[in-house]
Amino acid sequence: MRGSPRSPRARRAGIGTALNYALLFLLAFMTFFPLYNILVVSLTGPAKIAAATGLSVIPRDPSLATYLTLIQIPKVARGLVNSIYITVVGVFVNMSLTCLAAYALSRPRLPGKSYIMVFIIVTMIFEGGLIPDFLLMRDLHLLNKYASVILYKAVNAYYLIIMIRFFEEVPLSLIEAGKMDGVGELRTLFSIVLPVSKAGVATVSLFYCVFHWNEYFRAMIYLTNPDKWPLQVVLRELIVSGDKAAFIGALNYLKYDVGAAQVDMKALKAGVIVLAVLPILLLYPVLLRYFSKGVLSGAVKE
């Protein structure tokens, strides 16, 4: 007879492994399905939307009616533009401040470095709180200006420290060679350190990018004019209020070609959720690669 009889232990391990696989699959499925279902609902056509449920697996009467309606709703279109604007300008401000500071702090023997680090780390563990933040914005006349949201957490101490770690890895010889040629600090940063730390720049920019894209609370309280709201705030209003007429605007209610009146509220909500998730989904492979590196580099302390 060929084959060796399997020991009871091996068989037990086999069952254990199968159970392990099954549980992990279940977890992955439970993570994936609610998201997938939202996409299905958003793609279900007006004729079948009433029958779409949380268990729908395929969009029946598939159509883009939801999205065609959404882009005609000024709030949604403006929300998208605002979100993109805040994210792009925000990340630019974040990276300018963070890279300049991180470069200075990554130089060996910067006099007073430990005091400066304490100054920065204190902002990680203590904050003034919501009301003092709000009153400061009011005093600076930044309320209802995009700048209030762009400047919120413009320097994140945690991300700054990650950036310093990346810059510290740039070989000193590269920098010293530049110094010999009389290259200034700013030029050293831009022509030597940044090109060598592409991974670090990508990691930290993506951190800031996701932060701005997902931010809603400060935008909601600082931006009093709904025309300036980013998509997340618009989505929140839609989810919380759930009132179609209020959301679309009573006056606009009947004038859409696709017939907003026929598009279900459920589908509209699902559509906005998809729009809010889309950029993250598109960037996901990149996010995954750099985020895990960033988190681990921040966690490994010397």
């Binding site: 254990g16 696989y21 977890l27 992955a28 439970m30 993570t31 994936f32 399905f33 609610p34 279902n37 939202i38 609902v41 449920t53 949380g54 300018s96 401040l97 963070t98 300049l100 500071a101 200075a104 023997r109 910067l110 006099p111 400066i116 100054f119 902002t123 203590f126 904050e127 003034g128 709180g129 919501l130 009301i131 003092p132 933040d133 009153l135 400061l136 005093d139 919120y152 320097v155 200034g184 700013l186 940063l189 996701v210 997902n214 809603y216 609370f217 989505l235 929140r236 989810i239 459920k266 906005v272 809010a276 993250i280 996901y284 996010l287 895990s292 988190v295 681990l296 966690a299 302390k301």
Partner: protein
């Protein structure tokens, strides 16, 4: 001989461009982080729109501590936070151990890339997903309950069940991402130790309890103390986006209370006092856990 002070002076002089590069970030932190910290003294004053706040001593704190609503808010904060820590904290550790048992690298990558996803979504989006998932008529969960002969349950409008919704939505969002640090810690374990255990005939569970868990214990303790330090947060975004009037008394936490009183009712001083109270407790917890963790593992929070 003159190296000492003259050297330092020269170092500072040479570092002048570096200080200039640091200036924007430090000025930002001073204005947007330190000024609000100073602004928190409003808790001891009576707010006035003219800016001439009069000192009020501990008046607002006295009102705070004698208000029955505040007692309920503290209780809610502690209950929700405790539920989350005790139920959710072990999950990513178990998940990391389960993942480590899987041989196929490809399988691990697939599972990881799915379960990391929710970490990148905003709480507005996650709330939208959970409201959809738990909706009374169409939600997947209630559909399943009805399918198996049960009765649809209003998860979101019952005080006790919505607390569980907070626990599970938090778990849904972070179980994958939070396992990252533990997976990394398990990878660092010397494979020879496992091989030796295998030689000695140690079974799977024996291996996990005798090798894996002791090896990652420092990571577990560090992450746990870090979580304890943020105990008073209890997850503002979640509560803020999922709560409704029906459950307010059971889910109102410190941060939502500060928001409602301060920004909706305009009681700036009183809300600042509530916020400061939370900040001081939080700070105490962070320091306590920092020194506790230092004593236990030699590694602090910062």
């Amino acid at each position: 001989m003159r190296q000492g002070s003259g050297g330092l002076g020269r170092d500072i002089g040479r570092a002048f461009p570096l200080y200039l590069m640091l200036l924007p970030a430090l000025a930002y932190l001073a204005l947007f982080c330190y000024v609000p910290m100073w602004g928190a003294r409003l808790a001891f004053m009576d707010f006035s729109f003219t800016g001439n706040h009069a000192w009020a001593g501990l008046k607002h704190f006295r009102t705070l501590f004698s208000s029955p609503a505040f007692g309920a808010v503290i209780a809610n904060t502690i209950i929700i936070s405790a539920m989350k820590i005790f139920i959710n904290f072990p999950m990513p550790i178990i998940l990391a151990i389960m993942l480590a048992e899987i041989r196929s690298k490809k399988m691990i990558r697939i599972v990881q890339s799915v379960i990391y996803m929710p970490h990148f979504l905003s709480w507005v989006v996650i709330s939208g997903i959970f409201l959809n998932l738990l909706s009374l008529e169409d939600g997947a969960v209630n559909r399943l309950i009805v399918f198996f002969g049960g009765k649809a349950f209003p998860f979101l409008t019952q005080g006790t069940s919505i607390r569980w919704v907070f626990v599970f939505s938090e778990m849904w969002r972070s179980i994958g991402w939070d396992s990252l640090l533990f997976v990394a810690a398990i990878i660092r374990i010397d494979p020879e130790v496992y091989e030796a255990a295998l030689m000695d005939g140690a079974g799977t569970f024996r291996r996990i309890f005798a090798i894996t868990i002791p090896a990652i214990l420092p990571t577990i303790i560090t992450v746990f103390t870090l979580n304890l330090g943020f105990f008073m947060n209890a997850g503002f975004d979640q509560v803020f986006n999922m709560m409704n009037d029906a459950v307010l008394s059971k889910v109102d936490i410190l941060d939502t209370y500060v928001y409602r009183l301060g920004l909706q009712n305009g009681e700036f001083s009183y809300a600042t006092a509530a916020g400061l109270f939370k900040g001081v407790i939080g700070l105490g917890l962070i320091f306590a856990t920092h020194f506790g963790s230092k004593r236990l593992t030699g590694k602090g929070v910062w």
